[in-house]
Symmetry: C2
Subunit: 787 residues, 2 copies
């Protein structure tokens, strides 16, 4: 007998047919009768006082139904972290970046709305603007927010162990500074939403969000409504990558416009507005000092980081913590200090993006490990294996590796990439590199610090007994979560996947914190399993009574009721309950009782069978400030090997192949796990190789389209060998943990280490443009020539 | 302290604002991306063999995506009563009425679909057709259905007591024959639907139906699908009156077209097609013989009835039973016999319409009561009071008057109409008349004979504790049921109506047999109350534990938790659970604990709070065949007085006013009860005065529009004095029972009796056209002159 019937298979995703046929409904596919179209007036200046706003002409334009500014909607502050609510729907006194929202218009057509936006007259008094961390922290720098002196969003000062002592005891110390460039989420579907009030004052916001729950909370807070009167619904979503994980000002403006006009209002960002809004990966500058013993034992890590935050905090408080805390593993590291500073300036705000905060820190650190290994003459893999934590170990900052398939991942990529044969034996211009990484499976607390549930799920059986309807507020954002939860429900209930219908992304269905921090498979998965078990127990309890058999002697497997050591006669039961329904209860004459029959009997006996499930992690994290950020019920871990070709004449880098192993605890849908691994490699490659949001000196994005912002395309993708490792996470449903973000961690440093192996140069500034690599090669040649 | 806080008030209906502003979404307001439009080919002949169907040219037309006939969709028979499944989606061998469905087309526009329908070539062999009961029952009449010999859909032969003996013992015997004309439902919204398959084979049918549950069952059966894979959703509905209480062939064709094309398909009936489809009130011919003692005591009723059924049975089997069984009350009647025959012919099928089956029988019988009263010199009211049943009495055919406010109704209309002063004292041409009636509050069995639940309801509390989401599959069809269930939920839960959000009309939400037989307030109301009590018990159980107080000592009233004889301190509870949510938990410092707080505490303690409720009537009805039809958990009863003016020169009748009293057990929403009473008077007036579907001799409807089919308009309505009587029905939720159909019962006979009072003529054929009344007056004058 197989251990599992549904999970660990390669299931067809529930959403694939809709997406393959173009029939999937996204926000912009939806129209409502009488719907108006909204548009935003956004600042053309990076920093300016708003002296006056004149909406007279805009309001006069035929077809315009509402023009709103902060005078109309109030100035309730909001943001991501309650500790740093630094935004309002529309600006009050001044604009802080090119794109800051000043007003919104609803009109009978988008053309009219856009025309009306042009008719709004704003008087500005231009203020000096700052666009870099360096300029923003100068003593006389213009202050972006009155309340947050020195343009600091947040600062972190942490020390675990004694770093200075550790460094003194080290035989080898490496210090490097690594920086990346600002990224854009560059998802295919731009943000969009439709807000609609019913006449009893209930609001439905249909939005392209990763986090219906947080949007619901923010909308309720900013509009002054009860949470129970706000319903947020997410249709299909064209990805988010973290950027869509919080309410945006367009969503809020849209709700206010709908309230004002008593009509449904639709709004969409253009691609330019997506770049303007940003909220994607920060530009980080990491200075890292690592100390090790001669034998390679890591002793201390000293880490300083600044984050180029932009005009608002967004996820910044969490980001600055993550940038530090996730270096404490997967290696034993007794002493670690971290100084982090997230700095405001007059660019769009940065936020969370896949691998939130930890990606560039990992790139810097894993490069240093290679440098230390080289200097000590140890194979880089061996150095990592030597320092590797074990299952059950806890990092210096209290992260517990409750499952830990790191060694299996290293073994897998070592063998899969033919590392031992290739490493050290590549010709000039060809290189191989590796790196490891790990990431959280959800955050220990909701963003707003509460002990509420992270996920609740309802499962209802249909009256015919044949179908289980799974209701979850979780967010399918393209990652395959709907399919994963349907599979978990099927597995836990003991029915085939075809017996599951699932509805998600609707706050009326329950609480779910949404798709961020790689939390859903573990957390929503738990709630789904819990609900399915609740349903199962109710069905079996009825059978137990009717057949006079203890519940413990029964189980449901693959659509059949399994009885322990018993040959029971179901004919009486069938005569009483099923007879009249032959034709639509399957298999009524089989020797085995089907789930369909049992579920129908339970319905007739008890009425609607509804199971509820919930999940809340146990208290996680240490006692230090910020402990909650980074602590998780479980950590996914991964190793990757990259092979590259560097054109020594031009500096052009080509990724030849990637071998990728990830420990996801237990694969729910094997194909989706691999999909997340490959997606992570693709995104990591883009960041390593060419992604960069470029600004002019006024704070305008110069490459605000997908022609000039260079993503990795299918043509650029190397062969990726994905190896799924399963460590059976004790805190995960059926042993599952994250894969969506952890898999990006090793990609950049593996590439950087491979480039070094190929060309002998270390690149400390991303992306790896040919110019940058070429320059490094020339400097290297000069140094070698000089030596 | 008031007994009730929410019910028995005049609540604003949940649907009123949407409807008043035009924002209510009906089926035809909905569009789906890629949606196709369907059209039906319907027979132009009343009776013909179909020799061949050639769809070649239709399929060639650009834009046509599917053309389906019975060859494509199969011939699974369906209908309303499983005992008489005499329909198929498309005809197989022959057409049976003008409008019979032959084929359906789906195309990219309605224009193309209609054009394609014209291109389908059908070869017919015309058969002789019959259009009347008299012709259809002739020995050599053409047979409409091979299986049902003699063109009989159903026949009923019942006798309770000994009628012949009763008549022999009678001092006075009256025999009359009364007939009406076929009606049309004439609802404002024509039937429409949208069918859509997802790519996993699940079907969603959005349809303008009164009975999502039955449509779901029929669709599943005809398409060969599991019920759990078929979801039927009903948006706002522009009334139904019984006609939309079963699946129609357009719905089924639409599902097949969606399956064939893999696209959403929308179909609508035109007004002409509504008349063609019909399924409205039959033309009845009742011959009734009533025997009474000298003192007015009713002794026996002998009743024969034929129903002009049309080409299919539809609800006909139930109709022919109802036409007999509901004369057994509200008067004591020891002996009753009934012979009923429902006859097929080549007109559209008739079905159920408000007051299903019982309206014309009541009109005939209540006229006879007046005739007997007149001859015996007894006031018609007194005669009725003398024979009136009492609470708890059971009719000869086992209908139990578990509550019975009939006397109160009579008293109310007697006083309200100033009967005692007016009766017998009106000048010629002015008249006053009265009648009584009663009707079921739902049928004892579902149409398909099962002991399944008649209603299941789920109620889920939102995480903030402030809102209860009520999920029901019941059908708001304009009658106000959504509001009634929200009020029942609020009352049972102990919260204000504003705390309720309700979603209905969706088979995924549960089982509900829908809006027919005036069942919802009692049956769905029970299930709603049950679900609310389940929720309440869960919330109070948590409080009981937290406050160490027995559940019995707590209640919820008007949004507050009430504690018996206790002064409890909630500060610790609030500190633990509520503190962090100040701002969105109301009233956190009040001395009283709010429901909002308690519900939030319950959520934090237990997860999602979901209550489930269900209702199934106890076994009802006697042992005789057909006992289930007509038996109900409760019966609404009513009395009406009508005053009329008859123009003795032209025969024109004007209804001057109506005084209407109805015993609804307990009024949930007082305004809606009155609305149903007034609506019933309006519909009864239409039938009495001018409604009549007129056919030519080929079976075509001549007056198939609302210009020529004469409905009662607002201009025609007299003043109606509505008096609500409450008898506290023991089988009803909070004592409630029906009002939607019972209130029509006395309208026609009250008018007929008033016309007699005014003009001295009894009219035995409806409607009361001036011609018919004029002719009767002339005959009366001649008789008088001759006498």
């Amino acid at each position: 007998m197989k251990e599992f019937n549904t999970i660990r298979t390669r299931a067809n995703r529930l959403d694939s047919p809709d997406k393959a046929t173009g029939e999937a409904i996204y926000v912009d596919d939806i129209s409502k009768p009488g719907m108006l179209f909204g548009a935003l007036l956004q600042s053309p200046h990076a920093h300016a006082k708003v002296l006056s706003i004149d909406t007279t002409e805009a309001k006069k334009l035929p077809g315009v139904k509402a023009v709103l500014t902060s005078k109309d909607v109030g100035t309730i502050p909001y943001g991501v972290s309650p500790a740093r609510y630094d935004e309002t729907v529309f600006v009050t006194d001044k604009v802080r970046y090119v794109g800051d929202e000043i007003a919104a218009v609803a009109a009978t057509s988008l053309d009219i709305a856009l025309k009306a936006v042009e008719l709004i007259r704003v008087e500005y008094e231009i203020l000096p603007a700052v666009f870099t961390v360096e300029d923003a922290i100068k003593e006389d720098a213009p202050q972006i927010h009155e309340k947050y002196k020195g343009n600091l969003t947040a600062e972190v000062h942490q020390e675990f162990g004694d770093v200075e002592k550790g460094l003194k005891e080290s035989d080898i110390i490496k210090t490097t500074t690594v920086k990346n460039k600002r990224q854009d989420g560059a998802f295919l579907e731009m943000q969009g939403c439709i807000a609609e009030f019913d006449r009893r004052g209930n609001l439905t916001l249909t939005s392209g969000t990763q986090t219906p729950h947080y949007v619901q909370r923010t909308v309720a807070m900013v509009l002054g409504m009860d949470i129970g009167k706000v319903r947020v619904k997410k249709p299909y979503l064209g990805a988010g990558f973290g950027i869509k994980a919080a309410a945006n000002p367009m969503e809020l403006a849209c709700c206010f416009l709908a309230k004002e006009t008593n009509k449904p209002v639709k709004m969409n960002y253009t691609r330019e507005q997506v770049f303007m809004f940003c909220r994607a990966r920060h530009q980080f500058t990491h200075t890292i000092t690592t100390g090790a013993k001669k034998d390679g034992t890591l002793v201390a890590l000293k880490h300083e980081c600044t984050l180029d935050g932009g005009a608002y905090s967004s996820f910044g408080i969490a980001t600055v913590y993550y940038a530090g805390s996730l270096l404490a593993g997967p290696y034993k590291l007794p002493n670690m200090s971290y100084e982090g500073f997230r700095v405001y300036n007059n660019k769009p705000a940065c936020g969370a993006q896949r691998g939130h905060g930890a990606v560039i820190a990992r790139a810097a650190f894993e490069q240093q490990l290679d440098m230390i290994a080289e200097e000590l003459g140890i194979d880089p893999m061996e150095l990592r294996i030597k320092n590797m934590m074990s299952r059950g170990d806890t990092t210096c900052n209290d992260l517990n590796m409750s499952s830990f398939g790191m060694s299996e991942c290293i073994d897998a990529v070592r063998e899969g990439s033919d590392w031992d044969r290739k490493k050290g034996n590549m010709p000039i211009g060809k290189g191989i590199g590796m790196a490891c990484g790990f990431f959280v499976s959800g955050a220990g607390f909701p963003i707003y610090r509460s002990d509420t549930y992270h996920g609740t799920v309802m499962i209802k059986l249909t009256e015919d007994g044949g179908t289980a309807l799974v209701y979850t507020a979780s967010a399918e954002i393209g990652q395959g979560s709907d399919t994963a939860f349907a599979m978990i429900a099927a597995e836990a209930l003991g029915v085939p996947l075809s017996a599951i219908r699932l509805a998600s992304g609707d706050t009326d269905m329950g609480v779910d914190l949404g798709a961020y921090s790689s939390r859903q498979t573990l957390m929503t998965g738990h709630a789904t399993k819990d609900a399915a078990e609740h349903v199962k127990s109710q069905v079996l309890a009825v059978l137990a009574e009717k057949l006079d058999t203890p519940v413990e002697d029964m189980d449901i497997k693959n659509g059949f009721i399994e009885f322990k050591n018993q040959t029971l006669d179901f004919s009486e039961l069938r005569t009483t309950y099923i007879k009249e329904h032959r034709g639509w209860i399957d298999n009524p004459d089989s020797e085995k009782l089907t789930f369909n029959e049992a579920s129908r009997i339970a319905y007739l006996e008890k009425g609607t069978i509804v199971g509820t499930g919930k999940y809340k992690p146990v208290f996680l994290g240490g006692k230090y400030k910020g402990a909650a950020v980074g602590t998780s019920p479980a950590y996914g871990c991964s190793a990757q090997v990259a092979e590259v070709t560097v054109d020594m004449g031009t500096g052009q880098v080509i990724i030849d192949n990637v071998t990728d192993a990830h420990d996801c605890g237990k694969a729910i849908n094997m194909t989706s796990v691999e999909g997340q691994m490959e997606g992570s490699v693709s995104m990591g490659m883009g960041e390593a190789m060419h992604e960069e949001v470029i600004f002019d000196d006024k704070g305008n994005v110069l490459n605000n389209d997908l022609a000039e912002y260079k993503l990795v395309t299918a043509m650029d993708m190397p062969k990726v060998k994905s190896i799924v490792v399963e460590s059976d996470e004790p805190n995960g449903p059926f042993g599952a943990k994250e894969v969506g973000e952890g898999a990006i961690m090793p990609t950049i440093p593996a590439i950087l280490n491979a480039v070094y192996d190929a060309a002998g140069v270390r690149i400390y500034e991303l992306p790896l443009t040919p110019e940058r690599v070429y320059t490094a090669i020339q400097e290297y040649k000069e140094r070698k020539g000089a030596a």
